[in-house]
Amino acid sequence: MIYFNNVSKIYKDLAALDDVTFTVETGEFVSVVGHSGAGKTTLTKMILAEEIPSLGTVFFESIDVNKIKNKDLTKLRRRIGMVFQDYKLLSNKTAYENIAFAMEAVGKTEEEIASDVPHVLELVDLSHRVCHFPNQMSGGEQQRLAIARAIINQPEIIIADEPTGNLDPVNTHEIVQILKKINDLGTTVILTTHNYGIIESLGKRVITMENGKIIRDTKHKK
């Protein structure tokens, strides 16, 4: 589904990614682990075409992400659900409107929005927060809302970039369980984290990065 082929990203003298090659199959749950500055975020940004590789190619199925035209970028991003460490919610929209916005973006009707949004809010246990703004919610709730927004359009892949970075252990566990559930339903998940405890609890494939390089790529089974 995703193919990184000898990808390097060089900022002046610093290599954020150094000759990275790996593939992610449909339905896989891949954790990318490494310390801060290992290149995890750069890697996820390349899938979204937020960053262009200095060398190498990134493919999303048959699409060469580096060569994507501006008008096709929107279509590509609609196939990907993003979850960020800092949530990146729309601060002047309520929980309902944040999710509705993502549905409006893909052209869903008002009826579809009215029926799907309460359902997904219930899924992430936020039914009681429908009319709340992000700044009225806890970190864990905001992250659950971000996940709800990411999955509402049933994307082919969820990329969660350090989604538990700002959360306490209880909320971290909840978020990981939600992502696992999403993966069980067939959606590919890429999770970046520097929390080794999380990946151990998951028992899924782990890619370990250091200084922009993949130093280990292994599959664990519990």
Partner: protein
């Protein structure tokens, strides 16, 4: 589907405005200041236009006829002059009327009246006063009076003399002063309008700068450029609409005061002018305000939309 998308953009714009609170009202304030500058410029132009017209109105050329000139011939010349495209008005004053006006004008000037009485009869001539549409056109009217028309030149000419050549220098200077004043007025207007546009654009840019991260997020969740940009443009239009009403209300007491206290200085009652031109001013302000809001938002969002 497009209607639904349009409705969502409008709703988004109103919600953004409402929820941005103080930031929205700060932007409205700046647009109100801009529109107030535009209104002041409209008033300045009106005062300038009125003053220049008054000056223009004071300029004319007078033809003095010979004492033997018949009224029929004078009327004939008057009709010929009225047909000239440069001429706006021709008015005839008989010798008797000129004498009556002269006496009236000098009623307090005893030596002059006494001298007039001693001369006996009417030493004054019949005249035709000519007003041109533009000051620069007096020259061509004077040229017509030198033409080979039998009435104006040659042995049977009925014209004694004209005062154009005596006043030529003053008329030319006035022409230069008026056209310079108009050019200066235009340049000042242009300068103020440009400054106002820059200030408004930068204020709206600042309000959008606050949302720059959110614009990026909207793009990341797959929103099209128009879906992101539209609500900001509607918000900009709302600034313009509200600022238009604020400006119109603000200038009501202002013009009442100016009308009461400054009419003799300005030469025009700005309150009467404001009421008479209210609809035109409303349209100018609305188009300027909404246009500025929409275009500024469009340009400001564009910066953050690319990838």
């Amino acid at each position: 589907m497009r209607i639904v998308a349009f409705k969502r953009i409008i709703k988004g714009g109103f919600l953004n405005f409402k929820r941005s609170g103080l930031v929205s009202w700060a932007a409205v304030l700046v647009v109100t200041i801009t529109l107030s500058v535009i209104t002041l410029i409209i008033f300045l132009q009106a005062v300038l236009h009125f003053s220049l017209n008054q000056i223009k109105d004071k300029v004319d050329v007078t033809i003095y006829f010979t004492s033997s000139a018949s009224v029929d011939n004078i009327t004939l010349l008057k009709s010929s002059l009225e047909k000239l495209p440069e001429v706006s008005q021709v008015f005839y004053t008989s010798a008797a009327d000129n004498l009556k006006n002269f006496r009236l004008r000098h009623s307090n000037d005893y030596p002059t009246i006494q001298a007039l009485d001693e001369i006996g009869g009417n030493p004054l001539l019949a005249t035709l006063g000519i007003k041109a549409k533009e000051i620069s056109q007096y020259e061509s009217i004077a040229n017509f009076l030198k033409s080979d028309n039998a009435l104006v030149s040659g042995p049977i000419s009925i014209i004694d003399h004209t005062n154009y050549y005596n006043n030529k220098e003053v008329i030319s200077k006035l022409d230069v002063i008026i056209s310079s004043a108009q050019k200066l007025g235009f340049l000042v207007t242009l300068l103020f309008v440009i400054i106002s546009i820059i200030i408004t654009y930068n204020t709206i840019r600042l309000t959008i700068f606050i949302s720059k991260e959110e614009i990026g997020v909207m793009r990341l969740v797959g929103a099209s450029k128009m879906h992101v940009r539209g609500p900001f443009m509607i918000e900009g239009a709302i600034y313009g609409i509200i600022a238009t009403f604020f400006t119109l209300i603000l200038f009501l007491p202002t013009t009442v005061w100016l009308g009461r206290n400054m009419t003799s200085f300005l030469g025009i009652n700005l309150y009467d002018y404001y009421l008479a031109s209210f609809f035109q001013i409303f349209i100018i302000l609305l188009l300027s305000g909404v246009g500025l809001g929409i275009i500024s938002s469009f340009l400001a969002v564009r910066k953050y939309l690319n990838k």
